[in-house]
Symmetry: C2
Subunit: 385 residues, 2 copies
C-alpha cells in the first residue's frame, strides 16, 4: 500500500488555496461588530477589482444556483420574455429557473458539446424585440464549451434586454470585460476559480440592471439584491454572512490580486490548451473541439469504454477526483478542470495518471507521450518567458 | 497590556466547537462522490435524531432567513392568509416575508419584551378560519422572550393551518416535541446551538406540510424542498452543498448526541436561570421577565446608561462580545447568550466581567456578588447530582 493523496481535479470544487483554508479557523468573529465590518468592505472591494467592473459586486450565502435565482427574481416580472441559450445541463437550469418564476422563455438549444452562435441570438432578438433579457453560460461546465460572451453582450447593448451571464466557471478562465461588453449580471461561485470551498456566490450588477430592479415584481426577500447593496454600502451583509468563507475569500482574493486576474485566466487557458493537446496526442477525442472552454476540458472515452471506468481508475489508483459527464453525457465523457489553483505540476501528474489508467484498461499507450506534449507547451510558454 | 481572549457570548454566532472547526480543514472532497455520499446521510440522520422527529429534516445553504423563506415559498400560494405573531425584530421578518411573497398576513403584535398569548392566537383562528398557516418565533432572539410553542402547535392541530416555527434560537434551548405538538416546520441555523459558523440552515417538514406543498404555487427553485428531499433520499443535496460546514456539522452533531439533546437544553436553561438571577442580584432589570427564553437573556442597562457602553466595556476590557439591542431596543438592553457550546466557567467569567464593567461606569457593585449567585445555582444543580 502506497500513499495516494486525494487531489481534486474537478470543475468545482477545485483545489483549495491552503492559506484561504487556514483563514477559516478564525471564524469566531461576530458579523455585526467592527471585526467583520473592517473585513467585509475590503473583500467586496477586492472582489470588484478581480471582477474588473465599476458596477456593484455582491455576495450571497448560497450555491451558485441561488445567485442565478437572484439574477432572475430581482430583475423580471411574471410573464417577461427572456431569450435563453441552452447548451448543456446548466443551460437547462436557466430554463428551469425561468419556468419556476413564470417567465416566458424563448429557448435556443444547442447540441451538447456545441454552443449557440451569436447569429442565432441576433435572429432571436429580431424575432422577439420585446425580450427583456438574455440568459446564458459563459462556460458550460457540463460540456466544456464556451459561448461568445463579448458578441452576446454587444447584441444586448442596443436593446432593452439585460445580459445575464452564468460565469460560475467562466470567471478566472476567460477574459470578461463586464463594463466594456455590456454584461449586466455576472454570476460567480466560491468553489470555482476563487479557490475556496462552496458556500458563497457572487453577482456583479450594472446600472442598467439596477434601473430594471425598480420595476421588477417577482417575489424575493432572501435574495433581495437592493437590500444586499444597501447593507454592503454600510460594510455589512443583509443576512448573517458565512463568516468562515468570507475569511477564506479575503485570503484567496489577495492571492489572485498578487498573481493578477489576467494571469489567472492565462494560466487556465494554457493548462486547457495543454490538456487538449495531451488528449489528442493520446488519440482521444475532445467533446467540444470547436469552442472549447478553458475552465474544463471534456474528453470522450475511447470507443466501447464507459468514461466512469476512467473516473474510477483515477480514483482507485491515484486518489485523483475527476468528473464524469452529467445527465445523458454520463459514461460518455470525462472532464478535467483548469480553473483556479491548478498548475503545470498538477497537469504533468494528471496526464501521467491518464496514460496509466488507459493502459490498465487495455488501451495501447506509449508512456510519457501525453506528458511530453504538455512539457513541450510548458517549455515554449514558460521557460522562454 | 495583558491577554484578552476573544469570546463570543452572542446569540449567534455562538462559541465554536473546536473539533467541528478543525473538521472544516478536510473540505477537499467532492460533493458528487462517495466521500460525500457516505457523509451526508449520516449528517441528515443525526440531525433528524437531534431534532427528535420522524418527519424529514433538510439542509439549505443559506442563513436562517433563507430557510424561513423556504418555509413560506414551498407551502403557500399568492393571497393565502397566514397568522403571524410578531413580538420583536424576527417577528417583523415574518411580516416582511409574507409581504414579499404576497400572502395575506394577519399580524398579532406584542410589545417588545412581551409575547403573543395562546388566547390571542386562538381568537385569531376563530376570526380567520381560512388561515392557512401560523408563523412565529419559538424564541424571539431580539427580546429574549419565548412563545408557548406547545400551545400554538395544539391550536394548529385541529385546523388546516401549518404551524411554522422559527426555532433558529429555540432549538437546543427549549423542549420542542415536533411530532407530538404538531409543529409542521421548524427552522434552525448552524451558528446557533449547533456550535458551528453561519452558512447552513435546517428545516423539519411534516407530512401535513408535504401534502400542502403539492398545491402551493409560490415560485421557488433554489429553495425547492421537494427537490431537496428527493436528492437527500439519494444521499445528496440538490445544489452544491457547503462541504466545510457539513463536515463541521457532522462533528457537532456527534458531540450533541454524546451530551444528549435534552441535556443541551437543560444546560441552556440552567445557564439562563443563573444569568437572570445574577442580573437581578446585581440590581439589573430583565427585559422579558414573564416569558424568558433560555437562548438569550436581555437585560436593561441601568437607568441613564446606554447599553452600548456595557457592550463596549465587555469588548475593550475583556475581549468579550455580547449583543446590544436591535432596532429601537439598541442602547436600551444588552443580551447574553446561552445557546450551544456554553458552560458555567463562561458564565462565572461573564458575570465577573459584568460587575467590573458596571463598576467602571460608576455603578455601585459588590464584587463577586453576582458570581456567587451563579455559583450557588451551580452548586445546587450540579454538585449535588
Amino acid at each position: 500500500m502506497h500513499i495516494k493523496k486525494q487531489r481534486l481535479l474537478t470543475p468545482g470544487p477545485t483545489p483549495l488555496l491552503p492559506r484561504a483554508l487556514h483563514a477559516m479557523m478564525a471564524s469566531d468573529i461576530h458579523h455585526r461588530t467592527q471585526d467583520f465590518i473592517r473585513l467585509y468592505p475590503t473583500v467586496l472591494a477586492d472582489l470588484k477589482e478581480v471582477f474588473g467592473t465599476q458596477g456593484d459586486v455582491l455576495i450571497t450565502v448560497s450555491s451558485g444556483t441561488g445567485a442565478l435565482e437572484a439574477s432572475v427574481s430581482n430583475f423580471f416580472s411574471e410573464g417577461d420574455k427572456v431569450i435563453i441559450c441552452s447548451a448543456g445541463k446548466f443551460g437547462e437550469r436557466w430554463v428551469d429557473l425561468a419556468k419556476a418564476f413564470r417567465l416566458n422563455g424563448v429557448v435556443l438549444k444547442a447540441e451538447y458539446g456545441d454552443v449557440v452562435t451569436p447569429d442565432r441570438v441576433k435572429r432571436a432578438f429580431a424575432e422577439n424585440p420585446d425580450a427583456k433579457g438574455l440568459l446564458f453560460q459563459a462556460s458550460e461546465t457540463s460540456t466544456g464549451a464556451a459561448h461568445d460572451v463579448q458578441a452576446f453582450g454587444e447584441i444586448c447593448k442596443g436593446t432593452d434586454a439585460l445580459c445575464i451571464v452564468d460565469a460560475i466557471t467562466g470567471l478566472g478562465t476567460m477574459p470578461l470585460d463586464i463594463d466594456g461588453w455590456g454584461l449586466d449580471i455576472i454570476v460567480g461561485g466560491s468553489q470555482k476559480a476563487f479557490m475556496i470551498p462552496p458556500g458563497l456566490a457572487f453577482l456583479s450588477v450594472s446600472a442598467k440592471a439596477w434601473a430594471r430592479a425598480e420595476t421588477a415584481t417577482l417575489p424575493r426577500l432572501y435574495f433581495d439584491l437592493k437590500k444586499e447593496k444597501k447593507m454592503a454600502d454600510k460594510g455589512e451583509s443583509a443576512w448573517t454572512p458565512n463568516v468562515s468563507h468570507i475569511l477564506a475569500l479575503a485570503e484567496a482574493l489577495k492571492y489572485i490580486k498578487e498573481i493578477g486576474m489576467d494571469k489567472l485566466v492565462e494560466n487556465a487557458q494554457l493548462l486547457a490548451r495543454a490538456t487538449r493537446t495531451a488528449a489528442t496526442t493520446l488519440g482521444l477525442e475532445l467533446f467540444a473541439p470547436n469552442s472549447p472552454s478553458s475552465s474544463v476540458t471534456a474528453i470522450k472515452a475511447p470507443a466501447g469504454m464507459d468514461s466512469g471506468e476512467i473516473v474510477k481508475g483515477f480514483r482507485n489508483h491515484f486518489g485523483s477526483i475527476i468528473a464524469n459527464g452529467q445527465g445523458t453525457m454520463k459514461g460518455q465523457i470525462f472532464r478535467i478542470a483548469h480553473l483556479g489553483y491548478f498548475d503545470f505540476a498538477d497537469l504533468f501528474a494528471m496526464v501521467a495518471e491518464l496514460e496509466l489508467v488507459l493502459h490498465s484498461k487495455g488501451v495501447p499507450v506509449e508512456f510519457g507521450k501525453g506528458v511530453a506534449a504538455v512539457q513541450k507547451i510548458y517549455a515554449e510558454a514558460a521557460l522562454k518567458a
